[in-house]
Structure formats: structure tokens, C-alpha cells
């Protein structure tokens, strides 16, 4: 099975391989260096700069580099608007993630059931993902306008009791934004699930069906558990989007009545560009980074685990 080479030949071969490796490695390092420098500067240096800005007292156009420690953070956590933002983040992400997973999975399951003109449906479902969030925001602003859109449809269908204030509700308004966001992102989650479904081992399914497993049990006992990694990725991606939410808010509702639709991102923008409170704004950014980190750690751990396996 193995070809035993003469010792000298073998040494030469090893040396050749080493040289080649050296050359390959050099080339790869050279190719990577520009992007590594770019990321170091444009991501990490600016993250560090934001962290520094969050502990100084920059409250006008010109930076004031007096260190104030965690004063800005203390102020944020005593600010009712910021606390509403955190509450909105919780409400929005819970509602948005669940909608994306349920609708995304249902659409993927439907498309996977060998329907006709599958390609057309796939395109239709994924299309909203290709639309700019600003456009989505304007469209849904009108769709959920209490005097127009969905409410008019409900009223003319005799379902007037279902009509409500949507994003003008000063407590639950953020949930209407999550509907618009889910409309945009469900197609993408569908694509993730569809890829997952297509990669499932067919023999396992066939064996289950042969053993008398019904459709419901098939999904509940086999398909959904096997798709756990896909679900996990989808939660991470939609969770990240929830934290960053800005463009949809800016075009659809603004901060809304009593900050019903305010988000960390929108607050951060206003602090910096309409109030000139750059340090407070940076403090919001740091909180956003921390929340994102909390979300990313389990993801990175699972990637690590997979790599070890």
C-alpha cells in the first residue's frame, strides 16, 4: 500500500514540501495583510475610539477629553428613554425572531413538498429580503397607518374590531415594526431552512416513513431536531439585526409616541447628530457592542465545538 522511498529521496521531498509551504504561506500572508490592516483600523481602532469617547465628556461640536469614568453609563441607565430602548429591544427581538422562524420554516416546508413552479414561489418569498429597509419602512408606514392600509381592509371586510392603532400605540407600537421587519427577513430564513431541508439524509426520512411515522411526527421528531444548527444560525442572524435596528425605524416611525418605537440605534443617532452629545452616544454604542457580544459568545462556542469534532 505504501511506497517506501529511499531516505535521501524522502528528505528531499520533505524539503521541497517545506519550501512550497513557505511560498504558499508567504503568498497567503501577503494576500491577507491588506484586509487585516483594514479591519484592524476601520473596525477595531474605531471600536476602541468609541470606547474611549464613552468615558470622556464630549458634549459639543468640539471634543472635550476630560475623563469622566462611567458617568455617561450611569446617566444612560437612569434615563427613561434608554430604558424604554432596552425594553423595546426585548419586545422587538422576541417577536421578530419568532415570526421569522415560524414563517420561514413554514414557507420552506411548503416549498420543499415538491410543488409545481417552486422556483417562482421561492423568488416571491425571498424578494422582500432584496428590498432596502428604507423602502420597507415607507411601505409599512402606509400599510399600518390607522386611517389607511390594513385597517381599511379589515373594516371593509367587516373585521373592524381587529383594526387598531398599530405603531401609534404608545406601549406596544414596536410590535408593528417587528411585523414589517419579519416581512422583510422571513424569506431569508426560509432560504436557510430550505438549504437545511435539502441536506437532510433522505434514507433516514424514508426509514421513518416505512416505520409508520406520520407527517407531524416526522417533523417533530426528526426534521426539526436535525435542523437545530440552522435554527441556531437563524436566531443569531435575526438577533443581530434586532440589536442594530435603525433604518426601518428611521423611515417607518421615528421614535414614535412616548418612544414606543425608539431603538438603541435611533437614540444613538439622535444623541450624536441632533443633540451633539457624542460621549453619551458612544456609551449607547458600547452597550450595543456588549449585547451583541453576549449573543455571539454561544455562537462562537458552538463553532469551536464543531471544529473540534
Amino acid at each position: 500500500m505504501t511506497v517506501v522511498a529511499a531516505p535521501s529521496e524522502r528528505r528531499q521531498a520533505v524539503q521541497r514540501r517545506r519550501r512550497r509551504l513557505k511560498g504558499d504561506r508567504l503568498a497567503s500572508v501577503l494576500v491577507l495583510v491588506p484586509s487585516m490592516i483594514a479591519i484592524a483600523v476601520f473596525v477595531y481602532v474605531f471600536v476602541a475610539w468609541t470606547m474611549y469617547t464613552s468615558v470622556i465628556n464630549w458634549t459639543g461640536i468640539v471634543p472635550d477629553s476630560t475623563l469622566v469614568g462611567f458617568k455617561n453609563f450611569a446617566r444612560l441607565f437612569g434615563d427613561s428613554r434608554f430604558l424604554i430602548d432596552l425594553r423595546n429591544l426585548g419586545l422587538f427581538s422576541a417577536s421578530f425572531i419568532v415570526q421569522c422562524l415560524v414563517i420561514g420554516f413554514a414557507l420552506a416546508a411548503l416549498i420543499n413538498s415538491k410543488i409545481r413552479i417552486e422556483g417562482l414561489f421561492r423568488t416571491i418569498f425571498i424578494l422582500p429580503f432584496a428590498i432596502s429597509p428604507v423602502v420597507t419602512g415607507v411601505i409599512w408606514h402606509w400599510l399600518l397607518d390607522p386611517q389607511a392600509g390594513v385597517n381599511s381592509l379589515l373594516r371593509s371586510a367587516g373585521l373592524g374590531f381587529l383594526a387598531n392603532g398599530w405603531y401609534t400605540d404608545s406601549t406596544w407600537g414596536i410590535l408593528s415594526v417587528s411585523v414589517a421587519a419579519a416581512w422583510q427577513m422571513s424569506g431569508y430564513v426560509m432560504a436557510l431552512y430550505l438549504a437545511g431541508l435539502r441536506a437532510l439524509p433522505q434514507e433516514l426520512m424514508e426509514a421513518a416513513v416505512m416505520d409508520g411515522c406520520g407527517t407531524w411526527a416526522l417533523y417533530r421528531r426528526i426534521v426539526i431536531p436535525l435542523l437545530k444548527p440552522v435554527t441556531f444560525s437563524a436566531v443569531i442572524i435575526t438577533g443581530m439585526l434586532s440589536i442594530k435596528l435603525f433604518d426601518l425605524i428611521a423611515s417607518m416611525t421615528g421614535s414614535g409616541p412616548a418612544f414606543a418605537e425608539d431603538t438603541l440605534g435611533f437614540n444613538m443617532y439622535q444623541l450624536a447628530f441632533s443633540s451633539n452629545r457624542f460621549s453619551l452616544s458612544a456609551a449607547v454604542a458600547v452597550v450595543m457592542i456588549l449585547i451583541a457580544t453576549v449573543l455571539l459568545v454561544p455562537h462562537l462556542m458552538s463553532v469551536e465545538r464543531k471544529a473540534k469534532r
Binding site: 461640536i61 405603531y167 416611525t253 443633540s275 451633539n276
Partner: protein, 443 residues
């Protein structure tokens, strides 16, 4: 003030225009970066006509009468200086008045590459943001050379000044505390525009019995409630008491501030029920559609209703205002280190002159601050507004950026937005006290 009412929905509709503007700015920035550094024209007020060349002007006048009026100014400038090459860096949109423009402007000025002049509300908006940061030239010599002290009211020059020196040239005047009313509804209820708050609420009860909201509100985003509250503050505190709110002379914890909040709270019993979904920019349509009897807003209502060909509306001062004129005014200033000092000075002179203001204001729907203004093109409202303005009992508007620094204007809008939903007077007043502390009014 149509310009200051850029609702978010509109902003997105203006996206193409914005992108175009942003591209123009970026291009201009590149070109400007290639030019040489200009000398600072401090104290220099003469214009070397042959040196007038490139001129770059920032504004958020991108649509409607705003853009047409700005264009009229440019035409005048071009007629005076045929060698001029004007770059119109107008940027629309953003969450709040001129938010997108201000973002780009900040970057340009901090990057040492200011435009030759920029549109800014007279008073705190320029002083607290740019003058205290040492980015603007004083214009006292221009004022004395052009004799502005003889044609502008002293109270206006006071608002434009910091430590005794004026920093911008007002080009238009708008009044913020105007009560606009629907004549058919007023006739139906058999009333007249209320002169006092008591009359207002009496009228409100009659209208309520007929199922008509007395006051139109629009609070889908922060803004309108704060403007209405500001006009109530003026009526309860008087001109001096109101101005004192921003110097520490009047405390925000004052019982009269509480009284103003109570009046505002009471007013919410007489407003349109959909006010939380109504966009501020559409508020005049409440009058033309017969959905409210009155609204409080500035002159942009006049232009809006005229454009809609709706004629059955009237105007009066906000109840109990006692002739106090709540001022909003657009002006132009001179940044330090501009590239074309001669062009910039020529522009400022045009902005302050009768030759520039007379064609500009009727198109913009505003009045000229000059006492020698040409009123031949003014309509009934503008004539009234000019007469009231000339009485000189002028106070700066918070909502329009003239009374207080940017962070307070934002806080004020946000706090009153919460008031519009919670109607909790005590909590709102304590937030106002906190915001005033933060803005350092007492200091």
C-alpha cells in the same frame, strides 16, 4: 417654516434629491480640497468684485417654495457678479429640521473645510453650536457698514448676538405663535378666534358638543406638542419671563410653568383623536379637511393652504399672547477659514439687503426683517405679520432653534412628546427642570 417641518416620511420620499445633494457635496468637497487655503476675512467687509468666484452655500431648502426662493437669491447674486460660480449644496431630509444637512455640515466644518456660508436659525442654533466652538467670524463691522441696526429691530439683533457681536444675517422672518382657524367651522359654532385661554376652552366645549375637535394636533414624531407648549409658555410668562427660562432668571420649576402644562393637558381633551398618528407636516390639512377648528403653527400653514387652494381660513395670535412675536428666522453666517472670502461677504451682503430679501420672501412665504421692506407682493397674513413684527416685542423660539442649544431643543421635543401620551404634569415638569440643568441655563 415649511423647511423646518421635514417629517420622516417625507424625508424618505426626498431620497433621490438627498442622494443627489450628498453627491454634489462630496464632489464639491473633493474639488475644494484641491484648492488653496483661503485667508480669514475677519473684520473685512469690502468685496473685491473681481475676486468673487466660487461660492458654496449649504441649506436644507430642497423643495417647494424654499427651493424656489433660494433660487431667486442665487439669480440676484449671479446678476450682481457674473463671474460667480455657485454650488448649491442643499441637503434635505433627516429626522428633525435639517438633520441630514447638519450632519454633513459638522463633518465639513470640523474637517477644516467649511462651505462659504450656511443656512442656520438665528440665535442659539448658531451661537451655541458654532460660535462658542470658535468656528464663526463676528459680523459687527458688516452690520455697522450696511446699517442693519437701522433696519432690523434691536430685539432681533440681540437674539443674533453673542457677547455683544452679531454672528449671522437674518434673511427671513416667520412667526411661530399663530392660531390658524377654519372660517366655516368658526361660523358654524358662532364664535370668534379666542383672545384668551378661557375663551378658547369655552369655544372648545361648544365645538365638542358638535363633535369637532377645537385644536388640531400631530404628534406622530416629537415636535408639534413642544411648539404648542412654547406658545402657551409665552402667553403665561410674558416676553421677559419666557426669555428668562433660558438664562436662569425664570426657573423651570416656576408655578407658571406648571400652569402652562396644566393648560396643555386640558387642551388634550379638545384635540383630534388620531393625533398620535398624524404627521406634523400635514397639520394644515386638518383645517382644509374640516377635521379641526384651530391649529397652532407658524407661517408655513399659510403657504400650504394657499397651495391647496383653500381660502376659508383665518389667523390670529395665540390666546393671551399680548403682542409677543415668537420668532423663527433663517440666517446666514460666516465660518472661519472659508475658501472664498470675497464671495462669502458678497453673499452675506445680498442676504441682508433689500435687493436680496424683497424677491426672496414672498416666494418663501415669509417676511423680510427690514423695516423698509417692499410689501407690494405680501398677502393679508404677511402684512399683519410684518406689522406685528415691527412692534419689536420679539422672543426667540425653542422649537425653531433660536432660544436654546441643540441638545435642549431635542430634549424639549422629546419630553413634550411624552407629555402628549402620559399627560403627567409633575413628571414632565421635573424632566424639564432636569433638561434645563443639563443645558446649563442657570450657569
Amino acid at each position: 417654516m415649511g423647511n423646518t417641518v421635514s417629517s420622516i416620511g417625507r424625508a424618505s420620499m426626498n431620497r433621490r434629491r438627498f442622494l443627489f445633494g450628498a453627491t454634489a457635496v462630496a464632489g464639491a468637497g473633493l474639488l475644494a480640497a484641491c484648492g488653496s487655503e483661503g485667508s480669514s476675512p475677519a473684520g473685512k467687509t469690502t468685496v473685491n468684485a473681481s475676486a468673487v468666484g466660487a461660492l458654496e452655500i449649504f441649506s436644507f431648502w430642497t423643495s417647494g417654495g424654499d427651493a424656489l426662493a433660494l433660487d431667486a437669491l442665487y439669480k440676484q447674486f449671479q446678476a450682481q457678479y457674473s463671474s460667480a460660480k455657485i454650488t448649491n449644496s442643499a441637503i434635505g431630509g433627516g429626522a428633525g429640521a435639517g438633520a441630514n444637512m447638519k450632519t454633513v455640515l459638522t463633518t465639513r466644518i470640523l474637517g477644516g473645510n467649511p462651505p462659504d456660508s450656511f443656512q442656520v436659525h438665528v440665535g442659539a442654533e448658531i451661537i451655541q453650536t458654532w460660535v462658542t466652538a470658535d468656528k464663526m467670524e463676528p459680523l459687527d463691522s458688516l452690520y455697522s457698514q450696511e446699517g442693519y441696526d437701522k433696519v432690523f429691530p434691536k430685539s432681533l439683533i440681540d437674539i443674533a448676538s453673542y457677547q455683544g457681536k452679531p454672528y449671522s444675517v437674518p434673511v427671513d422672518i416667520l412667526r411661530a405663535n399663530v392660531l390658524w382657524f377654519s372660517k366655516p367651522i368658526m361660523d358654524k359654532v358662532g364664535g370668534t378666534p379666542p383672545a384668551t385661554w378661557d375663551e378658547f376652552f369655552n369655544l372648545g366645549d361648544k365645538l365638542k358638543a358638535m363633535g369637532i375637535p377645537a385644536m388640531g394636533m400631530a404628534e406622530a414624531t416629537p415636535g408639534q406638542t413642544s411648539l404648542v407648549f412654547e406658545t402657551i409658555l409665552i402667553s403665561k410668562l410674558g416676553a421677559d419671563g419666557y426669555k428668562g427660562l433660558f438664562t436662569g432668571a425664570t426657573k423651570w420649576s416656576d408655578p407658571k410653568v406648571k400652569d402652562s402644562l396644566e393648560t396643555l393637558k386640558e387642551m388634550f381633551n379638545y384635540v383630534n383623536s388620531d393625533y398620535l398618528s398624524f404627521q406634523r407636516g400635514d397639520i394644515p390639512s386638518l383645517l382644509s379637511d374640516g377635521k379641526a377648528a384651530m391649529i397652532i403653527q407658524s407661517d408655513f400653514v399659510n403657504g400650504y393652504l394657499k397651495a391647496k387652494k383653500f381660502k376659508d381660513y383665518g389667523f390670529a395670535a395665540v390666546p393671551d399672547s399680548n403682542g409677543v412675536y415668537d420668532l423663527a428666522s433663517d440666517s446666514f453666517g460666516l465660518p472661519k477659514g472659508v475658501k472664498d472670502p470675497d464671495s462669502a461677504m458678497a453673499w452675506l451682503k445680498l442676504c441682508g439687503s433689500a435687493a436680496g430679501q424683497n424677491p426672496f420672501n414672498p416666494i418663501k412665504g415669509s417676511i423680510s426683517p427690514r423695516s423698509d421692506r417692499d410689501t407690494s407682493n405680501y398677502d393679508e397674513y404677511e402684512l399683519w405679520s410684518a406689522k406685528e413684527f415691527d412692534k419689536g416685542n420679539i422672543v426667540p423660539s425653542v422649537y425653531n432653534g433660536s432660544a436654546a442649544k441643540a441638545s435642549f431643543v431635542t430634549d424639549f421635543g422629546n419630553i413634550l412628546n411624552v407629555m402628549a401620551t402620559s399627560k403627567d404634569v409633575a413628571s414632565v415638569q421635573s424632566k424639564l427642570v432636569q433638561a434645563a440643568d443639563d443645558a446649563g441655563f442657570a450657569a
